[in-house]
Amino acid sequence: MAANNRPEALIPVLGVATDIRIDTPDVKTFRVVTPDGKKAFIHKPGQCAMLSIPGVGEAMFSITSSPTNEEYMEFSIKKCGCLTDWLHAMEVGQQITIRGPYGNAFPVDTAFAGQNLLFIAGGIGLAPLRSVINYVRHYRDRYGRVDIVYGSRSMNDLVDYQEIINEWCKEDGINVHLTIDREQEGWDGHVGFVPNYVTELNFPTDCIGIICGPPIMIKFTLAALEKMGFSKDQVYTTMEMRMKCGIGKCGRCNIGNKYVCKDGPVFRFDQLDELPEEYD
């Protein structure tokens, strides 16, 4: 007798890459649907999914498209290892496997509701925030002022640049602040590191901060926000931690009594303070 009637989180479903967009030299955005053209599952902003190519590996990626997109899911993936190399070499029409959604989500309907939002992202760190930003744009009336600070090494390394320029920047009530690390020809925007830019912009503390980026950037940006008067309980981040099962059982992403894949990846900084210091 087959036991296939029991549900099993560890068994993935098929996905097909229907569109592959080159964002930066090392980031591509993949559009994924099931073979019959539907979304693989419903998710909330900030949640993740396990993508895999059998025989190569399986890894957790943030779902970068907004839940409000009912046609497909998108993943912006930076090339940084065996699986991502394969994903980057993939062509449209290639099948992959997908399971999820995993992790908690940004409290878009609770803590964020009615609030001013300040998104701060560095490099590929925009990927998990894009889902939230587009969700917020979709339900624009449920939120207050929206500021987005986004920086990267260079102009070419800004993920989703077209969407930022063509959609976000043009939308009322959304202020996009772009910066790159070093001067570059053809760039007349701000130059400088994200934490410094945040300090320069000197945001009022009447908003919720959401930070994502490299660990060092998160560290300094948080410090900058705290200096400006933000308290830790109004700043959120989303963590990267090697996850395997995605369902809080395999023990890999365990920090203190939390499992990043289940209790995270979204944490408020005051929650992180309660955890042992084992992350950057």
Binding site: D85, W86, A89, M90
Partner: protein, 664 residues
């Protein structure tokens, strides 16, 4: 993920007759990463290569698999094709479906099935290929020739004429080698000295040539283009730059009982001597084993008579160190020792001699001043028996003789027989032979003249026994054609001893890391296509050290080796083989296992600072491979337990991918 193109060659019917090439191409299409697959009549033809180039461009191929003949045949061709198509030449893998498939399997289904598997293995490997770029190294524009016989001299002259400096290292006090000991040469019967000595003088006078005589190579380091060699020049106790070669000392020296090696010890010279009149360099040398002054400090005659003041009893061995771009081995040959052949009584009778001794006995500069006299009593011999193949073609006489044919004996024996009959028509000459081998320009004519014009008795059969008796040599032999036993009372028996490589060749080969066959002849890189190169890059072979040869062959090979050397030295830099070992410093723990097995000394250790993940630093000893020295054998990769050492082009994962594909 690679984009792979698979090209299946028919090789006319060579492959297509036993392998369904179309099926192979179709099967390849199903493999992951293969975006293009086709078959064609002659992949190596210009049209075939163009097809590859077009496919690379059209399908943006990143890797090529050619299913064709052996990679030993056309790997280089297809690598060039890849380069012409704009992809790295090392992104090509060959599936050998001809030599190792269509030619050895008879039926189509079997051949096709295997060809598909071989193609899949090559596809699996090419997936993991990485572009490789050969390293470059400078070329030292100087050559070293080891051995100063006719081979070495000719090679040196040719290299020097092309404008490159060249050193000849000769172990004897003079260059000239075996040819200097010969009397006449076949088949023209011109005098050996007359044609050799001018060349010796040429060598001495050529400003690009330095002759380092009485010397031997002690150490060879480095690699093609960049050899570093240590040469020990033995003390000759005579200042070479000062000695005029007047020879006065060699007449006044009181020590007269020194066996004359040049005359094969058939006479003596003094303790200070010049090997022969035309020696180059014409400089005296003191034999320290016999010189009274050197042995017990009493004498000093030579120093007194030397007007040039060239004698230097305190002279010491001198070490010469020099860099070379290429090295030529021209170590020559020696007759084997015939003492072990008891049946010929060589040790029992002075009148049993070798052919080389015979040369000296008939040479005007020899111990008998060119008169053919019996060594035992100085009488003129009336009956001479020549025995062929003493120790040659001798499969059964292991330990004594050689399996191979020494090649030159038939001709020089004909020469000897002819010369004897010419000079001393009263002498009966018998030649016992297994076969008479005379391929070569004018060789058979020469032999026929010996038989027909000079009346030499050629008897097919072997000499069974030679017994010295009452001043005669009783020769017992069989005549196979007449099927009878012969008994000849001979005055002189001449043994055509097999020739073997000089004893110095084996240790030299070790130093040069050049390979040798079981007979100690140097192995050529390819027996047909690269006959003057050793498999070790930058080492070339000249003359009999590679195999038995007569003079014309030796000279042509010598010039061929010179041409190869010139070709090498004309380059400013060399592109190395990029398939070399590479150490992953992050994984290496510096245990030295790899360095222990490296035959080229390509691995050294460095203390390197590593940044640890916790932001501290740690200094670790790690292996580092010199890609110019590494030859890519891979011994180190297996010695390394952590797998830190890997071999480009044959990486662990590549070979395992092939294994997987084959065993699937």
């Amino acid at each position: 993920m690679q984009r792979i193109g698979v090209f299946v060659c028919w090789c006319g019917s060579n492959i297509a007759a036993t392998v369904d090439v179309h099926a192979v191409a179709e099967a390849a299409k199903l493999e992951p990463g293969v975006v293009f697959s086709t078959d064609y009549q002659y992949m190596c033809s210009q049209a075939g290569q163009n097809m590859i180039i077009d496919a690379v461009k059209e399908h943006k191929l990143t890797g090529l698999v050619i299913c064709s003949c052996s990679p030993r045949m056309h790997e280089a061709t297809f690598r060039k094709t890849a380069a012409n198509a704009g992809i790295n030449p090392y992104m090509v893998e060959i599936a050998n479906i001809r030599e190792q498939c269509s030619w050895v399997h008879k039926d189509m289904p079997t051949g096709t099935e295997k060809a598909i598997i071989l193609a899949k293995a090559a596809i699996a490997k090419v997936h993991l290929n990485t572009p490789l770029t050969p390293g470059e190294s400078k070329v030292t524009k100087r050559a070293l020739v080891i051995g100063g016989g006719i081979a070495g001299i000719q090679t040196a002259l040719d290299i020097a004429d092309a404008g490159y400096p060249v050193d000849i290292v000769e172990k004897e006090p003079t260059i000239g080698g075996k040819m200097a000991q010969l009397d006449k040469t076949f088949p023209t019967l011109d005098c050996a000295a007359c044609i050799l000595t001018p060349k010796m003088v040429d060598a001495a006078q050529n400003e690009n040539i330095r002759i380092i005589s009485y010397a031997k190579v002690e150490e060879v380091g480095g690699f093609v283009g960049n050899f570093h060699v240590k040469i020990r020049k033995k003390a000759r106790f005579v200042n070479e730059d000062v000695c005029t070669g007047c020879g006065l000392c060699t007449e006044k020296c009181p020590q007269k009982k020194v066996p004359n090696a040049f005359n094969l010890n058939m006479d003596n010279h003094r303790a200070i001597y010049i090997p022969f009149a035309q020696a180059v360099p014409k400089v005296a040398v003191i034999d320290p084993d016999y010189c009274n002054m050197l042995k017990n400090g009493k004498c000093g005659v030579c120093a007194k008579v030397c007007t040039a003041g060239a004698i230097d009893y305190k002279q010491e061995d001198q070490i010469i160190e020099e860099d070379y771009g290429a090295i030529v081995a021209a170590t020559g040959y020696n007759p084997i020792s015939v003492e072990k052949f008891d049946e010929f009584a060589y040790s029992q009778s002075k009148d049993v001699i070798t052919s080389l001794e015979f040369e000296r006995l008939t040479n005007a500069a020899g111990p008998t001043a060119g008169k053919l006299l019996r060594p035992s009593d100085g009488e003129h011999p009336h009956t001479i028996v020549f025995v062929q193949c003493v120790g040659s073609r001798c499969a059964s006489c292991a330990g004594k003789g050689k399996e191979y044919c020494s090649k030159i004996c038939c001709m020089y024996t004909a020469k000897h027989a002819m010369l004897v009959r010419d000079k001393y028509p009263d002498t009966e000459v018998y030649v016992f032979y297994i076969d008479v081998r005379t391929p070569g320009k004018n060789f058979d004519e020469f032999y026929r003249r010996a038989v027909e014009e000079y009346g030499v008795h050629y008897i097919k059969g072997m000499v069974g026994k030679v017994t010295p008796e009452n001043g005669k040599l009783k020769v017992q032999a069989s005549d196979l054609l007449a099927d009878r036993q012969l008994h000849i009372d001979a005055d002189l028996v001449v043994l055509a001893a097999a020739i073997e490589p000089d004893k110095s060749a084996r240790p030299l080969a070790t130093m040069l890391t050049a390979s040798m066959d079981t007979n100690d002849f140097f192995t050529e890189a390819h027996p047909k296509l690269r006959p003057v190169e050793s498999p070790t890059a930058g080492i070339f072979l000249s003359g009999a050290c590679q195999g038995p040869k007569d003079i014309p062959e030796t000279v042509s090979q010598a010039s061929a080796a010179a041409a190869k050397v010139i070709g090498l030295l004309s380059k400013n830099t060399l592109k190395g083989n990029p398939c070399v070992a590479q150490s992953d410093e992050l994984m290496c723990n510096g245990c030295s296992s790899c360095a222990n097995v490296c035959p080229y000394g390509a691995i050294t250790y460095v203390n390197k600072e590593f940044r640890m993940p916790d932001r501290t630093t740690k200094v670790r000893r790690v292996a580092s491979v010199n890609p110019a020295v590494c030859q890519g054998c891979g011994a180190c990769t297996v010695a390394c337990p952590s797998g830190a050492m890997d071999l480009n082009g044959f990486k662990n994962n590549q070979i395992m991918a092939e294994v997987d594909a084959i065993c699937k």
